[in-house]
Symmetry: D3
Subunit: 201 residues, 6 copies
């Protein structure tokens, strides 16, 4: 998107269920500093979930003024000993991540037909880039909790967590498709589809 005025602060009022690409905006004369502000991103998040990580997004849903600007921010907390921000991708954004605490093993995988896997161990102060639409993850390989901040170039990047989408969609995907695609026994597929897939976002 491209702003056509200084700012267009999003409103949540959808006017009888009608939407636009992005968001409706409020009168710019009524905009104030609170519209551009979000707080408490310094507070450590609870990571006691099965995946061991928590993503705190600051996108257009949190800062209404981000509407029409292609940018947002996230904080990611990782549990010690294996906290994982699992394989996922953003359909509408590239991500640049900086590690604040801990040691992360990170990767992204290129598209077909190479499926080249590019990986790196990151320590505090290290920066890494994950291109739009490519699958990537971060894995805490240290003994302490880890924290990272990241910028993404969309007001609403979207997140597609691969395992959740594949095995946890509602309604479930036809198990014959997954059996064939993932070369798994059908019993394993239906077992996986019966599980609860926690979402760290």
């Amino acid at each position: 998107s491209q702003p056509l005025q200084d700012f267009c602060v999003a409103i949540n009022d959808t006017k009888n269920g009608v939407f636009v690409n992005g968001k409706f905006c409020k009168d710019p004369k009524l905009a104030n500093a609170e519209d551009f502000f979000y707080s408490r991103l310094n507070i450590p998040r609870n990571t006691s979930n099965p995946i061991g990580s928590t993503v705190t997004p600051i996108n257009v849903a949190q800062i209404s003024r981000l509407n029409t600007f292609d940018i947002c921010l996230v904080r990611i907390d990782y549990a010690p000993y294996g906290g994982l921000n699992p394989p996922h991708m953003h359909p509408r954004a590239t991500e640049i991540l900086v590690v604040l605490e801990g040691t992360l093993y990170v990767d992204f995988i290129t598209s077909n037909t190479d499926n080249c896997f590019i990986t790196k161990v990151l320590n505090p102060g290290d920066v890494f880039v994950f291109p739009v639409g490519l699958i990537h993850f971060q894995f805490n390989i240290g003994n302490t909790k880890a924290v990272a901040f990241a910028g993404l170039n969309s007001q609403n990047p979207g997140v597609i967590t691969i395992a959740n989408v594949i095995f946890g969609s509602n309604p479930p995907i036809n198990p014959d498709v997954l059996t064939k695609a993932f070369q798994l026994d059908k019993n394993i597929v239906t077992y996986l589809q019966s599980k609860f897939w926690s979402d760290n976002n």
Copy 2:
């Protein structure tokens, strides 16, 4: 991308390993009809591979004149009784597909946190849309082979076949990551990583 001239026909000569976003182009005075042309898309493709489908892309690699134009075309052939274009997505394109022959069960899955699964059975003449970056598949549920054509709004949409990227990357992903992300036994993960992941593109 946005064309800044009538056309900019791609050349493959990369001038000593140097590239640009998209492609270098040849002198427009030397462009001729062959640069804009590709043939034999009507010939049925062989689908005798483990997945039972073959994708034939006509993108900037096949028609050099597509460079700077956000469009390409694919033909997809599906084997009878279960030919599958497995769960995948295109990081740089939305797709509009029309069925020419056969009966396809198709879907796409929305991004978190809904992971809503939208599905439809398509017969010849039916048209369906798969949004940019969302995971989708087509599955031949008929007794005959199936054929579809699709337009995508990129000169080089990219294809990320989920199973291949997750289990078949080179080098392999750390199996601890996959064990945790997919809630699979580690033995199954390492077994899957040892398999050959055929690519239908």
Copy 3:
């Protein structure tokens, strides 16, 4: 355009005559598979009109979910012995066309000052590209009907059929302009302006 969410399914309700660039959208929670679907594109169209061709567009007017996605699809039927999709252009899209049946003589013409005319005879399975804004046509030079499918990179490409715009506009263009521009006798211009200009879209 660029989608700022997974999808933004167009609604036709314009809320008291108010419009936006593109379309207003409905609540994404109410989206269903029918919004993404169109059928019967396999049925041959009637081409018994003066031009001998019929274009069947599947754009945002037919598939409401195409809104915000720069893509659409058309089917074109050509009568045997001279069915013509007459000289026209799309102000908002490049087109990639594949021939399914018949033999088409196709062209496009570059912009000034070259006005280079690039032409090709296409048979089933042949693919050709028509750049955004350039005038092009397809002419059935075979003895049988012809059929083509094409993808265009806009949700609403627009069609400007040159003869209709020049001689059939409402109200008519000042005939002195056309007499001078086309170097025609003024009587011929006024005669052409009095004719009925059929539209194959």
Copy 4:
């Protein structure tokens, strides 16, 4: 296009026949004021040609610094008593025109299926807008010469003069196509194709 640096001054040196979308640029440290400058746009142009108008474009070919910036400027001179900037369109730009001298009858025509013809008589100081890809003209209906300046939002808008493209392309279009499309006698078509089509650009 979108600039990715302060400026990228075009060079004409194409490095052995290799091109890019837009232009190659010179070292920004070598840029100087002459790269951003063009003069003598105040000099009346000679309009003694069959069409009675002359267009003087200042695009990336004249000001090399326009490269990557979506903007250019034109001066248009019209002969008294019928000077015509004939029906044409720009495949890559919208145009905003201001009349400096004289009285112009201007129009543009919307795309199918309306082909609505919107027209206005403009006097000095009047401003009018011609949307991207739509056919438009200006016709001097006054007794004196006329002059207009216009801004277009492309570094290289392209110009497609309809009559020249249709009847003056090289090689010529198959006359059967034009006979059918324009509902003209074939003799008139071949006569028109034999003429010289002057270009006012």
Copy 5:
């Protein structure tokens, strides 16, 4: 922005204080030539203000049809002997300017760390380009009034006059910030902040 239809004529009715990126539009069937038209840009403007210049913009606020088209036009009048269009920039547009009358000393300054100052004296018929977001000015160094026209590639370029923004904002900037940033005595800063900053737009 990118038009998704032939045109989308802006309306000022904001429907209960709700806005969109750009503008809401009226029913295209109700569009008429007046929507595309503005007059009297040939009339010299009064420049008897402290700065000695007047900018007359023709953007989406004046021509409602410019909505969705990235283009607008301005007329600038400069008083004799020092009329100044003071240092300013447009956050959303590149500008191409042509001098109609008078002699202007113009410049723009590149971004850090070079802050290179590119300057030129322009006479009638001279054309110059000011890149998006870079600070520039025009200064009448002749003995007569000067007039220029300019095209900008936005429907609403925005104008940020540096002195007005720095010393005339409402409420005022903390004077300690300006004292430090501009290396000025704090008394001068508070004196400047107490002045009236006239706006030539």
Copy 6:
């Protein structure tokens, strides 16, 4: 910009002084994890300069893989008791900033004719947005050093520090222009132009 492939890792080799919009890229087969990586952003920077702040950008000059992706990252260190990131703007990016340490008084100012000044005091964990092209600053009003990280949606946002551009350009701006524009005594202008303007980038 918009990537047309998975990534296009910038090279600095400009091939005999020739450039493109953005950067030339190296062979994607030769890309490795180092191209996507930057380290030591956790190290506090020295802020003992006249302005009392240091900006450490991680853009395409530091991470070559950012080429074609509209994103970068900066670290900003502020000295205690008045460290100032002085009034500046980015011609090609919107910024989202998060405070890690200290207390910052921040603002941005809207474009004419309102010049509305929106301000906020930020503490650790607070997030604020600065729109593209609008002038803004951050001022450390706490007794300790402050640190912030920010994401910007450009690979090369550019920085225009207002005081440096106005008074420190090379060659200097004509002092008559600044005297008039800033309503300053000419002696003050020439004194300011003689100073050294330190750059915190």
